[in-house]
């Protein structure tokens, strides 16, 4: 049976563990920071000297750490893109906007072990020569903001933060900024705009790559809460050692949020790729409710493409001779890691598994998801702005007795015009992938619903009861 591996949540849920500094220090807190600050410049064989921060950056690259915010992009690589020659300050922002439906992992860290994240952040800032950093915390986490501010004050009082940190000569200030209450504030360039005091309209890339033109048009690093915590552990144990956790190219641990029709919904920290989706659902989350059968899962937060129970995927694997061999894998046997889920046509996204059993009306489920995206689209670019609401309205119709049998195709046609670089930010994918994948995998249910509605309307008309085959169209979602 697969086991949890608690690296980041090692202490968080221990009885008596509190979010204050004393408790953190009793558990070895800020030792990694001391270690980081003490790293001496190292001269290479070719005569080049590597500063302490450069060595940390190299170690993060070596660790193979991939971002935990959604895209799974290499953290070391992201840091290497930072324009260090612009003469402008470099900013670091911790993305604590955690809003992807199904995801509830960052808040465990923020509420229970804030100093761990702050330590990871200070080290990351030191490694990148950042003098001013921000924590952008979801607006709906007022308590989280208070906890963070308290923790930052404690860290300041002990000189883990502020001027001349621990006598190293390094200065850093961190501010907490409360989010503006929209999902799009979690998209890194929308977040930057919001932090600048504007509407969280994501920026066009090019030219506004955060690593070059980020906050206040200065080079900026945006990392997720969990990602930054990992940096602390990379420094503590060394990048090479960290890379031994998890599986190749999918290193470290991951906190997986599991929700839906399972007996023990919750978060579970596992080595990346060391547990399959089936193990996560059955061994950790206690399996489905009694008497229920699995229907579908969404493997990486609500924007990830849905998997159907029993679905099989052809995955390429390296055989013993180093050659690729193709292997058929059942959905539940997919290792829960970045690459396998991508190869299976979805993604591990924010590390959130949403489980749906056979009691689920799949059309209702999609309508629910779509309504969320229609409500959260920032409305800046045409395909997402118009497409997200259009799909939601069509699904609203379909779940309010006014479906048509062609609605499945109708929806896919709308969805197909949104993703793939047609929009400014990845929200375009986030709102269209669910529609594309739900309908691709459960088309019969959508068609059946439409047909049933048509039949009912015709019958009602024959009986002279008001409704005509012409769509009356139920009231559609309105802005709130």
């Amino acid at each position: 049976m697969a086991q949890e591996y608690r690296l980041i949540l090692k202490y968080a849920d221990e009885p008596g563990y509190t979010p204050d500094l004393d408790c953190y220090l009793r558990h070895g807190g800020y030792e990694a920071l001391k270690k980081a600050l003490a790293i001496q410049p190292r001269t290479l064989t070719d005569g080049k000297t590597l500063s302490g921060p450069e060595q940390i950056r190299d170690d993060v690259k070596l660790s193979g750490l991939r971002g935990r915010g959604g895209a799974g992009f290499s953290c070391g690589l992201k840091w290497s893109f930072v324009d260090r020659r612009s003469g402008k300050p470099i900013y670091l922002i911790c993305n604590a906007d955690e809003s992807e439906p199904g995801t509830f992992k960052d808040r465990q860290i923020l509420y229970k072990d804030p100093h761990q994240m702050i330590e990871g952040m200070i080290i990351s800032c030191y490694a990148n020569d950042v003098k001013l950093a921000y924590i952008y915390i979801r607006g709906e986490f007022p308590e989280g903001a208070r906890i963070l501010n308290r923790a930052l004050n404690e860290a300041r009082a002990k000189n883990f933060l502020g001027k001349n940190i621990l006598g190293s000569g390094y200065n850093l200030e961190i501010h907490v900024h409360r989010g503006a209450g929209a999902y799009i504030c979690g998209e890194e360039t929308g977040l930057i705009e919001s932090l600048e005091g504007k509407r969280a309209y994501p920026r066009i890339k090019p030219p506004y790559f955060p690593a070059v033109l980020g906050l206040y048009q200065c080079p900026t690093i945006v990392n997720n809460v969990e990602t930054l915590c990992n940096v602390k552990h990379i420094v503590a144990m060394g990048g090479a050692e960290f890379a031994k956790l998890g599986t190749p190219n999918n290193t470290g641990t991951r906190i997986v949020s599991i929700s839906g029709h399972v007996k023990k919904p919750g978060y579970y920290e596992v080595e990346v790729g060391k547990a399959t989706i089936g193990q996560l659902i059955n061994d950790f989350a206690g399996g489905l409710w009694d008497g229920r059968k699995l229907k579908a899962i969404i493997p990486g937060g609500s924007s990830a493409k849905v998997f159907k129970a029993g679905e099989k995927f052809k995955l390429k694997k390296k055989g013993p001779d180093g050659k690729d061999i193709e292997q058929e894998v059942e959905m539940l046997d997919l290792p829960y890691d970045f690459d396998s889920l991508m190869a299976a046509g979805s993604m591990s996204g924010s590390g959130a598994i949403i489980v749906m059993d056979d009691s689920t009306d799949i059309v209702e489920a999609l309508a629910n998801i779509s309504e969320f995206y229609a409500h959260e689209s920032c409305g800046q670019c045409t395909p997402c702005r118009e497409g997200s609401l259009w799909m939601s309205k069509a699904l609203h119709r379909l779940t309010h007795g006014e479906g048509r049998k062609q609605d499945a195709d109708y929806l896919v046609k709308i969805a197909d015009n949104i993703p793939g670089g047609r929009t400014i930010c990845a929200f375009g994918e986030a709102c269209s992938w669910p529609v594309q994948s739900f309908i691709a995998k459960f088309k019969d249910e959508f068609v059946a619903k439409g047909e049933a509605d048509e039949k009912r309307r015709t019958a009602a008309q024959v009986q002279g009861a008001g409704l005509t085959p012409e769509l009356k169209i139920a009231a559609s979602p309105q802005p709130s």
């Binding site: 090019p206 030219p207 689209s377 045409t382 395909p383 259009w390 015009n417 793939g420 400014i424």
Partner: protein, 562 residues
Amino acid sequence: MSSPAITETKPSPPTTELMKVKVDGKEIAVPKTTPDPITGKPVATTMIQACALAKVDVPHYCYHPKLPVAGNCRMCLVEFGTPALGPDRKPVTNPDGTVKISKSPRPAIACATPISPGMEIYTNTPGVKQMREGVLEFLLINHPLDCPICDQAGECKLQEYSVDYGQATSRFVEPKVHKPKHVDLGPRIVLDDERCILCTRCIRFTRDIAGDDALGIVNRGSYNTLSAYPGKAFDNNYTLNTVDICPVGALTSKDFRFKMRVWFLKETKSVCTSCATGCNIVIGSREEKVYRYEPRENDAVNACWMCDYGRLNYKWIGSENRLTEVRIGKSTSTWTAALKEISEKLGKAAPGSVAIVASARQTNEELFLLSKLAQKFNALTDSVPRMKEGDKLLLSADRNPNSNGAKLTGISPAQMGANLPKIADRIRSGSIKTLIVFGEDVTKHGIGTDLLGKLETLIVSDILPNPTTELAHYLLPGCAHAEKRGSFTNGKGRVQRFMKAVEPKGEARPEWEFLHELVYQVTGQNGFASIEGLFNQMAREVPAFNGLTWAGLGDTGASVPI
């Protein structure tokens, strides 16, 4: 607030490096950099600029060459490829020796994506066509489609592209989003939010060019709504430019809306006369009536903007009060009779007994002809300064359109208006007996009705009546600039010509025409009887204008040192 700016896009310095790219298979060398519309600094040339140089049209809504790029409408999506690089980072070649192109799996917005060497841009693939159709369909689903009553009809980008990429029938069966239809944004603008396609052109113009953070978007997603800052009116001196750049009929001018279908308007190239900037304009007229001014692009002067004050200052042209008769004393006369009498009177005038107050609203040519008369009599001359508060963008503190013309032709002293008290004194002392006044009410400028009453001869030409015209012994009805041709020299020394849009009212004649006759009769000098000839003669005789020709002014003028 960012500093408002009109950057003069100087012709790219010859050192600008070129870069070869292909647009739809056609190779073209384009400058690596292009001046940023706001800062003027060189920035990487974008795909849409390269396509424009290749004469390939890329449909777009939010992109505007004079505004910062927003990249939100997604109409300009194109496909592209770049030279494939091998593991050694060197370009890979095809078997036939050509450079291998690796096609990008994702499209790019042409308005924001910089070009790179060897890039191939594809604007006419099935994929691109499909993306454009998709965007257009999205824009139309919630659009009210009230073209029959929309002022933008005829110059609407939504209409234009619908012809190219639209579907004949809509598959949208859901209810449309409804938004405010008649929003009073400010004193000069009405907004129809349902027509707005949220391209943010108006917001960017207002924020980045006019320096006013008045406009923004409220709500989210498909409910996004353009709005002025809550409780505040959209009221700066440049608001009407947003009507010009709005690609649809969302922003309408209170002055122009519902007055005239745009396709009926005759368009005439002209210049605004309300200040020394001399914004280039197009006069929209129909059946001898002026309906609107719109800015005309001239990077040396006004980019593509103009101020609201200048734009709306046209109604006097069609005023009921226009002077339409030649008068001798209080009785109606004819041009022949009046000019004959004036010539005879002037023929007898002694040197020093004549003064001329011309207007810096007159054209270079007219002022030049007046300077000929002045020379003949050694007349004291001047014009009337019109200084008010200017702004940092276009509006000049000098509200005369041709102060420099008045100075360069010698009509006005360096300090305009300095001679007016002298003229008054000499009328008072009786040494000046004849006063010629063009286009000014001198009673407001120190030469009161009592002084005018002392004159033996008062010759006045003007457009509208005033106390000076009332006292004229000879009254010659003149023309608005829209009724004649001519040129002005703006505050920075730009000599700009303008064309005739409508016929003069009644008996009114272009001043240069009758001045030409008068100069001939009084001085015996025969000039040119056409505006081209007259201008060219002036260019030869007035040192500052040496080298200029009427034809050479073209549509955007030529600069002279001032």
